[in-house]
């Protein structure tokens, strides 16, 4: 869980890195904690602005309803893709056992 005071301490860095599935050494976490703190302090200037009632911009374009017809197109070569796989078996991609 993220700490309440919203600063990006080492615990938070580790929690976030875990969400992002990136292993960090203790040293890396410390450096990141400092750097991210500096960046977030800078980003905090956004809090000066009154953004109430302001719509969020998700897309710059005013285009909408982009659709395609339900028409089949040939798939790409299965072999080509599987050849790149770090590990494969028959026609499957293979990953290590899943332990949650």
């Amino acid at each position: 869980m993220i700490s309440k005071d919203k600063s990006i301490d080492i615990k938070t860095v580790n929690y976030i890195a875990d969400l992002a599935r990136i292993a960090l050494s203790q040293e890396e976490a410390e450096i990141l904690s400092h750097q991210l703190k500096e960046i977030l302090d800078f980003i905090d200037r956004l809090k000066e602005i009154n953004i109430e009632d302001m719509p969020a911009t998700t897309h710059i374009l005013e285009v909408k309803n982009v659709l395609r017809e339900d028409i089949l197109r040939p798939s790409i070569s299965s072999a080509k893709v599987l050849d790149m796989a770090p590990l494969k078996k028959d026609n499957f991609f293979v990953v290590p056992k899943i332990i949650e």
Binding site: I2, A20, A56, T57, V63
Partner: protein, 479 residues
């Protein structure tokens, strides 16, 4: 005649007349690369085989194009200069590549160097080592499309494709003294561009002059059924009205861009450029883009948040690097964490973590949502100005190129070097950087024009008029 020094339109003339063959051009480039690229490092995977006998009909007549390492090329490694994509050969071409091929371009098999996943402003974050500035090898060439800009500047390429998420075409173009065009978001298909920040990314040309930019833009633009965000709009021939004069054109000078921290030499060059344009009949008025100071902060939230999600797919399952674990524990979770820890460089990890943070439960409203709202304000600032003005003029970057290693340990300082280019991406508007002189140290300075949505014609016309009345685009580095 050194063919590699010519522009695309000059070469097309010669090819048409039958004076030269495209293989002559490719050979000239190959020789140039063999001689100097070990110093510049504009290209990566230099061992890829160059096809000398390439013959292709079509308007581009076999002219070679250098492609940034984040644009997918069929069966040709595309690795974003990241270890994690080692060996990735896309089973498909990006739409821009298909378009260029169909027009007869030769896709140069050596891809251009870049900051890993386009994360950077100096081309130092590449797993293949930095690309160097052809004007001074101790200096950065800018980023993230640094390899593309350096290759064009050093005559190792005729023209190149770059990508621009926060200035990644324009800033290296300005650092290397070439022309870099960032089209309107939605003008050019993103299909096949390995995404950094999906709502900001655009592909554009890096060229030796404005005419070439217009030429290439005309080819790569246009509707693509594979990209929902690519607009179905007819594409003009952008080379058509370039030479139309700019008498009476109204140019805005945003006061927020002429501030403390702006390098004196840069400022001097910009002032001189304004004088040139005035003489050509353009009028200048100071305006305000009041939310400019929030652009960098807004950008680094939105861009990293989108990036954290876009880069989640690099996990060692289907392609690229896979490291099972540090200590022999072979669980899936360990594989993910180790692969990503080893596969991503420092800056990539920093941005993924920042972006993940901005989206995390309890932070989304405070960071991501807020940034999207501020983005609306930044967009509105521009819309207001373009109601009255034809374009905006600013420096491309507050400084000329900095030294390699100078900012690499200070991420925030590095981020701030994008201060003048980021807003165009947040607003989605087109922008171009053209060379406008040199600092006392002999490093190029870039001039940026911005225009309203889909007004690349306006940008190119103003930029062309300026360029044709100056000598900067003809200057070559001594290397």
């Amino acid at each position: 005649m050194e063919l590699n020094k010519l522009t695309a339109h000059q070469l097309l003339g010669l090819l048409k007349e039958g004076v030269i063959k495209s293989s002559d051009v490719i050979l000239a480039l190959k020789e140039r690369i063999d001689v100097i690229d070990s110093q510049i490092n504009a290209y990566v995977r230099k061992n890829e085989k160059i096809e000398l006998s390439y013959v292709q009909n079509g308007p581009l007549q076999g002219l070679p194009v250098a492609v940034k390492d984040n644009i997918c090329t069929l069966d040709l490694n595309t690795e974003c200069c990241s270890k994690i994509l080692e060996g990735f050969k896309p089973p498909y071409d990006a739409t821009v590549i298909s378009k260029l091929k169909s027009q007869g371009a030769y896709i140069f098999p050596l891809k251009t160097n870049m900051d890993e996943f386009a994360f950077g402003s100096s081309c130092e974050n590449s797993c293949f080592g930095p690309a160097h500035n052809p004007w001074n090898l101790e200096y950065v060439c800018g980023g993230s499309s640094g390899g593309s800009a350096a290759a064009v500047a050093a005559d190792e390429a005729i023209f190149a494709l770059g990508t621009d998420t926060g200035g990644s075409i324009r800033q290296p173009a300005s650092f290397c003294g070439v022309v870099g065009l960032k089209p309107t978001y939605g003008r050019v298909s993103r299909y096949g561009l390995i995404a950094f920040a999906s709502s900001l990314d655009v592909i554009g040309p890096i060229t030796k002059d404005v005419y070439d930019s217009a030429l290439i833009l005309s080819i790569i633009s246009g509707y693509d059924p594979y990209d929902s965000t690519c607009v179905n709009l007819s594409v003009p021939d952008f080379t058509q009205n370039l030479s139309k004069d700019i008498k009476g054109i109204k140019i805005a000078l945003p006061k927020e861009y002429f501030i403390e921290g702006l390098d004196k030499d840069v400022e001097q060059n910009i002032k001189e450029a304004i004088e040139v344009l005035k003489k050509l009949g353009a009028s200048f008025t100071e305006v305000s883009l009041p939310h400019t100071k929030y652009a960098v902060a807004t950008y680094y939230i939105i861009a990293t948040a989108e990036a954290s999600s876009n880069l989640a797919r690099f996990d060692g399952v289907q392609y690229g690097l896979r490291i099972n674990s540090f200590e022999g524990d072979s669980s899936l979770l360990q594989m993910y964490k180790t692969t990503r820890a080893k596969g991503f460089g420092e800056e990539a990890k920093r941005r993924i973590i920042l972006g993940t943070f901005a989206l995390a439960h309890g932070y989304y409203e405070a960071y991501y949502l807020r940034a999207q709202k501020v983005r609306t304000l930044i967009k509105k600032d521009f819309e207001e100005v373009f109601k009255e003005f034809d374009c905006i003029l600013t420096p491309t970057s507050p400084t000329a190129a900095f030294k390699i290693g100078e900012k690499i340990r200070e991420p925030l300082k590095m981020y701030l070097s994008d201060i003048f280019t980021i807003s165009a991406n947040l607003a989605g508007i087109p922008a171009i950087s053209v060379p406008c002189g040199f600092t006392k140290k002999g490093l190029p300075v870039g001039l940026q024009f911005l225009a309203g949505y889909f007004r690349e014609d306006m940008l190119l016309q103003v930029a062309y008029n300026y360029e044709q009345n100056t000598i900067w685009h003809k200057m070559k580095p001594k290397i």
